[in-house]
Amino acid sequence: MSDRTPASDEVSLTAATGQPQGLAADPATAGEASDPTFVPAGPPQQREMPFAIVQGQPLLTLPQDLYIPPDALEIFLDTFEGPLDLLLYLIKRQNLDILDIPIAEITNQYMEYVELMKDLRLELAAEYLVMAALLAEIKSRMLLPRPAATEEEEDPRADLVRRLQEYERFKKAAQDLDELPRLERDHYLVQAPVPPGHRRLIPPEVDLREVLLALRELLARADLYTSHKVEKESLSLRERMALVLIKLQGMGFVPFVHLFELHEGRAGVVVSFLAVLELIKSATIELVQTEPFAPIHVRLRTGN
């Protein structure tokens, strides 16, 4: 596109010398006096799309006099999504066939708007000027006599028509998209809380190796003052101590002999006996004998 920009000077000249047909051509405003700009009308329609809504009123035609508040024009400018949109507007407003645009007329009208913007020193996006240049170029090419027979020469408007059509369909697609029922406007997500206490976490898997490695590090840390103490009892004794306690739980007095499983043999009896001694030593259980040679009972120490 950049190769077309040099033409923009030429365009400005054309526009400056041309007649402001674009505005006068609009029958709705022709002949009307000072403030016909705010035409009350119904909701926006495709054919008479307002430039803008100013103070609640649709602005259907471009103001003719230059004393209109610049705000209105800024809104007007914001109303168009770019030069293609403005061109489409001009074409639709006059019920022209997009496939056969009277390029000279449209160019003049387009330039009117552009000049107006420039006069008001509104910040005009560069794309508007690029389009102005393009229009001028097409216009000049249309004026040139075309060799009728050569078919490779395309209509100078072809490219513009394609772009206009392409833009138009996505303009429509955007409208369609906007009309789709969507969240936050037409539908709302719903949410119902779950009664408390039902969330659960899946407990992590643990490998025994992790436990042992943790113990190893702990031992390395605690070795200085605990190692001999930890090591002197065998694990079976420890296990037996726990089993004795479990046996005694909630039982009150348990006959001493019930703590021994004879089928375990001598080793088993010894381990149980050591476990009982350990538990007595650690003030966890106590032995009770009501009189000499009476059966010995064991019970958990309850601390009164």
């Binding site: 596109m1 408007r157 072809a158 697609a173 906007d178 789709l180 709302y188």
Partner: protein, 226 residues
């Protein structure tokens, strides 16, 4: 309470608790194997439960909807005007510029910002792209292998969910382009059928961001090479 009814109740509770679309798979996963009392429902069971729910909601304030992310329960449109008053803010409105950009990404994905600007005839503001990315309606799915390596944008599942679509195929059909006499018939004006582009775009979003989509030319771009 029959077993069928129970399943429906659980499905209803889950959909309402989730507050987001749930797939059939997620719904099925709620029924662990060990529940001997209630054998894990089949796909058909779940679909039947959903159909029953849909029927139940016939004259309620809510409805069951199927979107790209699965099934969800939503407030019925008829109730929206009142429900909207729950919040002080008005529902967000989106500018034409944003909607046009979004439409171009939706119908022409994957597409670069430059290509969007080409069709719209104006620059796409950074804010628009930022908003679309922030809403997670679009995402960058790759880069076109041309100078500058411009980002390629595509729509997301969130976009479909937001607009209540199951897939891109459900987008409104693009208007046709008329071929003017003076342009002849041989011009490459035919758009790829939206269904076709939709399904290929669906594939894209499925393939994930790790693998950028195959870069294809996004169809007749008028005036891209003056």
């Amino acid at each position: 309470m029959s077993e069928r009814l129970s399943l429906k109740n659980i499905v209803e509770g889950a959909l309402l608790a989730a507050g987001a679309p749930l797939t059939l798979e997620t719904l099925a996963s709620l029924f662990a194997e060990e529940e001997a009392a209630l054998p894990p429902p089949t796909r058909e069971d779940l679909t039947a439960a959903l159909t029953a729910l849909e029927a139940d909601y016939q004259d309620r304030g809510i409805e069951l909807a199927q979107v790209a992310g699965g099934y969800r329960i939503q407030v019925r449109k008829a109730c929206a005007p009142w429900v909207a008053r729950l919040w002080d803010e008005k529902p967000p409105r989106y500018s034409r510029a944003l909607l046009e950009t979004l439409a171009l990404i939706a119908y022409r994905q994957p597409i670069t910002r430059g290509e969007i600007e080409e069709i719209r005839g104006v620059a796409v503001s950074t804010n628009i792209v930022k908003t679309l990315l922030e809403r997670e309606w679009v995402r960058v799915v790759g880069h076109r292998d041309v100078p500058g390596r411009p980002a390629l944008y595509a729509t997301t599942r969130k976009f479909l969910d937001y607009f209540g679509l199951k897939s891109l195929n459900e987008l409104p059909t693009l208007a046709e382009i008329r071929s003017p006499d003076f342009l002849g018939d041989d011009l490459p004006l035919e758009e790829p059928d939206p269904a076709a582009s939709g399904s290929s775009a669906g594939d894209l979003s499925a393939s994930g961001p790790a693998s950028p989509p195959p870069v294809r030319h996004t169809g007749g771009m008028p005036g891209s090479n003056p």
